[in-house]
Symmetry: C2
Subunit: 418 residues, 2 copies
């Protein structure tokens, strides 16, 4: 076996990428910045060293292709994103790109027959840090890029269209980044978990079952403001107390079902004075589940519970959806092969949903997807304290490499018939 | 009987006072402003018309004195405040001053024997609107004025000392505003309820049992922030969910006991993002009760409950007192005479605590106190929508006048002995 999968080598490349930052004091590498171009160039160099041909597509994704036994075969697509949030960690996204390239290098060193091609993509934008629109790279590749976002501007007033031109790209050519369904046999992304589950169970890797769907609500409760000293408890219509009851309902309902999560992240009370009974309360709800129907049932339960609380307390409650995204299930046949690879590496098997969003949500429009999660320290991400060990990086890469070596494309019914 | 107590006449004077405002679009009359001087002058004119001698003391209180059967007798002190909040109603404070003057006029018309003097005071500052320090007029009269507040500045940068000079007063002479305990037989204040109890029970007036004591807390809960999608419910240490449980505990504990009120008026969650489990929550508590020992027991119960919630949830909770004021009980012998007057007017008797603060809290340092509450619309106060009816104004004045006519000073043990 080559030493392409060596953990220390992977970590060194991640450190190199982390040097490419817009700020000296923190890692930030946004879409279409000079640092994005430098990251693409560095990644393309690694891809070529692994035996791939490389190109940059019309949205700025860097793509390497490693041919199989014959040129032009459908490809197994691997990869993740190269952009970051502001003051980011160095593993979110990049680990998947670096690991995938290492797997191709490992494969090249083995020189075994391979009845499919491999492509590795470093997506140009997943986080949406610069223009407030996410998954731009993977949406362009999947043919679902929304051209209306080209008019969005960054904090300096530069539009996305202008930024593309400055980067050397042509906004009008973005549709050429779209790939066909027939191009790919599937998409597999390795990513840090960004959660605490694997660490809590002492596991280096896990197999993702689905990228959870999410519903977000903005809830507003109107009661009656009053003097904190003069309005007896019995006569109150306290909007914040009603919100508190709703919050505990959300917590209880989500906890009652595995893999369902519900969060109130923001709250405010109006008028917001220490000596005034709140007549107004506003809070947000973020509800996620790997299965859309379970999320729908939970949402209906919450809304019914909110109504009951509001009616009983004599307050009015309005909940409006601010976001609603379906789950992206991982294809069982593909996830099964990842589970085989995990067990093939003599590791305990753990399947878990991804509560965070990933490029696979967009790629899912043209290919079946699966994901491998790698343990990260304390579940911390989007933070400079984001951390993984070299050992876990190597374990993740070994699982991905074994998966690729043993990869058996699914024979689709249409293809299996003459 | 004279027509001094006529409701329409009282309302007309309240309307006249409401014209004396710093702003044309809203009623605001702050301590030591030209409008304060104009209000004092108008009130003094009414006092003199009722047969009183008048003066302004060293803090700017306007004081009228109506002698009894002999000059220099100890006085029954009546009154309330003439300053307002910003965008105020026209009854809070002023109703008590106007009604007290009307009662003296009524008394003068009757020309009956009167073995005590009456003084009516229009306090210069109760609300603390201008300098953020409350009860300035009544504290000066009670000899408890804190001279360190003289250095406080208003929003225009004018110090209280400078404002006194501009008003024609001498800050060094404030101690001369202090009265002696022997000067007064008691203090009785008529005031709008600023709460909904009398209206809910269909009563025009009520007898106050005590001005509730109050404790205010600032509570801070520290849990662990996390990704709203990736941290399972079971592993969370959600600071806001813990705060929600505390809020419902406060509501439940306060509701379990009559006349105890507990309010959370402000709350915030940190970091305050829709997709982040809050690692921090801050909220305020305002706890009031007419009996200090009941407030102390309730506070201890709350703090113990908070601790239990924090321990169970694995979060840390710190509660600090930001305010702590003892209750000012109304003297039973004085309140009994008010109750007699209410029944003498053939009205149903209702005793209730005052959850809001009043000048009596300061005057209580040198005199026993009692209060008469008058019904206000919807319990609304500190708002231009503050409203009372002319009928209720007249009823309140008639109760106060009857109380004065029948007033029997308490024979203190020290005085009853030779």
């Amino acid at each position: 076996m080559s030493n392409a999968l060596d953990g220390a080598g992977l970590m060194a490349r991640l450190d190199q990428l982390a040097q490419l930052s817009e700020r000296p004091d923190a890692l930030v590498r946004r879409f279409l910045t000079p640092e994005h171009a430098r990251a693409n160039a560095l990644v393309a160099e690694w891809m070529r060293a692994a035996g791939m041909s490389t190109r940059t597509d019309a949205i700025g994704n860097v793509i390497g292709r490693y041919e199989g036994d014959a040129p032009g075969l459908p490809a197994l697509l691997l990869g993740s994103h190269l952009d970051t949030v502001v003051d980011a960690g160095r593993y979110d996204g990049m680990l998947g790109v670096v690991s995938s390239i290492a797997c191709v290098a490992d494969l090249a060193a083995r020189n075994a027959p391979q009845p499919f091609a491999i492509e590795v993509v470093g997506f140009a934008d997943e986080e949406g840090t610069r223009f407030g629109a996410t998954l731009l790279g993977s949406r362009a590749l999947a043919g679902t890029f929304d051209p209306t976002v080209l008019g969005r501007t960054d904090p300096d007033g530069v539009s996305m269209a202008e930024a593309l031109v400055r980067f050397g790209l042509d906004p009008a050519r973005i549709p050429t980044a779209a790939r066909r369904r027939e191009d790919f046999l599937g998409y597999v992304e390795l990513h840090i978990e960004q959660g605490p589950v694997l660490e809590a169970e002492g596991l280096a890797v896990g197999c993702v079952t689905a990228i959870s769907g999410a519903t977000r609500l903005a809830v507003e409760i109107e009661g009656m403001a009053g003097h904190a000293g003069t309005v007896p408890m019995a006569g109150r219509r306290d909007a914040l107390a009603a919100a508190a009851e709703c919050m505990l309902l959300i917590e209880r309902r989500a906890a009652a079902e595995p893999e369902l999560v519900g969060t109130v992240g923001r709250i405010e009370a109006g008028p917001g004075a220490i000596n005034v009974v709140p007549g107004l309360a506003r809070f947000t709800v973020d509800l996620r589940a790997p299965a859309d129907e379970r999320r729908a049932v939970a949402l209906a339960d919450l809304l019914a519970g909110f109504d009951e609380i509001a009616r009983r307390r004599g307050v009015t409650l309005a909940a409006s959806k601010t976001h609603d995204a379906a789950s992206t299930p991982c294809a069982p046949w593909l996830a099964d092969q990842i589970r085989d690879a995990i067990e093939g590496e003599a590791l305990s098997l753990r399947s878990l949903p991804s509560g965070a969003g990933h490029d696979g949500m967009a790629v899912g429009a043209i290919a079946e997807i699966a994901m491998i999660f790698v343990r990260c320290k304390g579940g911390i991400s989007h933070n400079p304290a984001e951390a993984i060990t070299a050992e876990d990086a190597e374990t993740g890469a070994r699982v991905l490499a074994r998966f690729i070596r043993n990869f058996t494309p699914r024979i689709s019914p249409s293809r299996s018939r003459p």
